[in-house]
């Protein structure tokens, strides 16, 4: 097991109090696994990713432990973490296109960075050049300044620098969001290639874009309002999601071959709850068309099917009630108490149910 996270809690300090951005998450990433981490913006997925390498400024480690390759990762101790950064855990940040100091040549930056870590660039230089060529950057990029490169090129240079020391875990934060579709695909392929070539042992790919995860991820984990809602293999997640939130997320994706003049693309109505003082119980229940009395209790993140964890009372009932592998259809039909609880919130999943019928 490459990474295992136990009940991790990360807060943001604000004037109005602490915001629980990551509220007790537990999960693991296996060796050679690419795990996708998805959710709406503000759900805490980036905070979770960042907290594994750099707890900065107003972030605060409230509780929980992180283990990497069987050893504890001292995430709350900035100094102790320095030893692990880049070497054991590394990151391609969300701002990868502006992550390089504009007034230093790419090679100089790498040199200074490694020197600051007590290493020599000369030792890894041949490997550096090989990888630069692999990601499709010109040979002389080490002698170039970041402002001479396009945004996409800067991002690739950042990718290479971040993975130069072959980390066990790479956190790739929204690496595809600022790119056009063809580049998204190319960067996705590079990420899997990095894994296949052993540049990184395992990876967490953070994104709000489920389609890129369908392409590259082995497993997908979904977060909502600071909590985990569902985790399963990528194919299960795309084809047979159990959590109503995942279902809604998928239904809001455009589909190939569908003309959207004929059918409306639906978002999820409503907003996630404030994390300043989140209401007890399931955090999605305000927006969930299936919510019922039991949802005022916190649903545990439980393994309902082998390798498929979900935090939802409704899904648990469905699975336990023998709906079994047909749960997708079952949950799409509003039934019993769930339907009565919120008839006016029907449309989004109603639309999805309609899609299923087409």
């Amino acid at each position: 097991m490459s990474l295992s996270v136990e009940n991790l809690r990360i807060a943001y300090r604000t004037l109005r109090g602490d915001v629980q951005a990551v509220d007790g998450v537990t999960f693991a990433v296996a060796d050679r696994e690419i795990m996708g981490l998805a959710g709406e913006s503000g759900c805490g997925k980036s905070t979770l990713g960042n907290s594994l390498i750099f707890i900065e400024g107003r972030m605060k480690h409230v509780g929980g432990t992180v283990e990497l390759d069987g050893k504890a990762l001292p995430i709350s101790d900035d100094r102790a973490m320095n030893h692990h950064r880049m070497r054991d855990v590394s990151i391609i940040p969300q701002y990868a296109m502006s992550a390089l100091n504009p007034t230093k040549k790419v090679g100089t930056l790498a040199h200074d960075l490694l020197k600051s870590r007590g290493m020599k660039l000369a030792k890894v230089l041949p490997e550096f050049r090989r990888r630069v060529a692999l990601v499709g950057l010109p040979e002389n990029v080490l002698e170039m300044y970041p402002f001479e490169l396009s945004g996409g090129m800067r991002q690739r240079a950042t990718m290479v620098i971040s993975t130069l020391l072959n980390p066990s875990l790479l956190i790739a934060d929204e690496v595809t969001s600022a790119l056009d579709v063809s580049n998204q695909r190319a960067v996705g392929e590079l990420l899997t290639e990095f894994r296949d070539l052993g540049y990184v042992k395992s990876m967490i790919v953070i994104t709000h874009d489920l389609s890129i995860l369908a392409q590259i991820a082995d497993t997908i984990m979904v977060m909502y309002a600071g909590k985990l809602t569902e985790k399963a293999s990528a194919s299960t997640m795309i084809d047979k999601p159990l959590h109503p939130y995942t279902q809604a997320l998928l239904s809001s994706l455009p589909e190939v071959g569908v003309r959207y003049e004929d059918r409306e693309l639906t978002g999820i109505p409503g907003r996630p709850p404030s994390l300043l003082s989140p209401p007890p119980g399931c955090r999605f229940r305000e927006r969930c068309p299936f919510a019922y009395d039991k949802c005022v209790e916190d649903p545990p993140f439980m393994e309902l099917l082998p390798g498929h964890q979900v935090a939802c009372w409704k899904a648990a009932d469905d699975v336990a009630g023998g709906a079994g592998r047909e749960h997708n259809e079952a949950s799409a039909t509003p039934s019993g108490g769930a339907g009565d609880a919120s008839p006016e919130r029907g449309p989004s999943l109603g639309a999805r149910a309609g899609k299923g019928a087409e």
Binding site: Y95, S98, N101, T103, S116
Partner: protein
Amino acid sequence: MTRYFARKLGLYVLAFWAGVTIDWAIPRLMPGNPIAAYVDRFALNSQGPWTALYKLFDKAFGYNLPLWDQYWHYWDNLFHGNLGISLYAFPEKVTTMIAQAAPYTLALLVPAILLSYVLGNRIGAMAARRKVLDNTVLPLGYLFQAMPYAWLALAAAFYLAAVEHWFPVEGGYAAGLASGFTWAYISSLLYHWFLPFLTVFLVSFGGWSIGMRNLVIYELETDYARYLRALGARGRLVRRYAYRNAVLPQLSGLALQLGTVIGGNIVTEVVFNYPGLGHLIYTAATDQDYALLQGIFIFIIVGVLVANFVIDIVYIWVDPRTRLSMQGAAA
């Protein structure tokens, strides 16, 4: 880089042209007749000699020519290094008078600007990361920024010179001392130089340190700084990068500040009766010594442009963006 340079050079030429033209135009645009005012000073009580003298001077200064010719002559003289003759210190050449005063001004300005810039940047950068220093540098910096130059100079002259007698109240060197390479003369120069220098230095210093503090704080929050820290770089490297990048806007700020510093310098020279250009232009104005006034004006503009040129070269040297691309960051 060539384009960046050509553009800058074009701006210098334009600024110089504008400066000279303004200088030429002021006496001709202002209400009243400068020649008449000048002739009035001879206090002639009959009309005849007055008119004769007026005609004489009108011709001598070329005011009787068509405007276009006057303008042309002005440039012609300028390129021949001829700035005219002082009326008050007749027949001293304006250029000679400027040459005598300029060293004093440069001796004040150059060290004050350089030292306040370098020290201000250092202290400001330190304040950006040390709370204790920040709590003292910041209020002090704001206080110095809020002080009028003239008052700071007066207060320093009053307390340190008039009351405590640590420094002389006025002058460039002790009266009656022969100039030359003697210890007595040079030490007297330094002794008189220190207080005016200190006031010019202090006011600029506050501005630089506060500016640098804010810029470094800003740089430390940029993406590249976060990235370096996320990859475990030592604080020293992050700060070095932040400092280098923060210096760039400070440097273009230095070019913009020159006019203000020169203004402050004039005031300081007047307070201390320091025999530099500031004092000279001030007395030229009170004496209505127009040729001298205009000559100093041109000289100062040339000085500002030369200083800008130097700053531009340094900027090209420290900012690769100006060197390698077309975007002139500090245009």
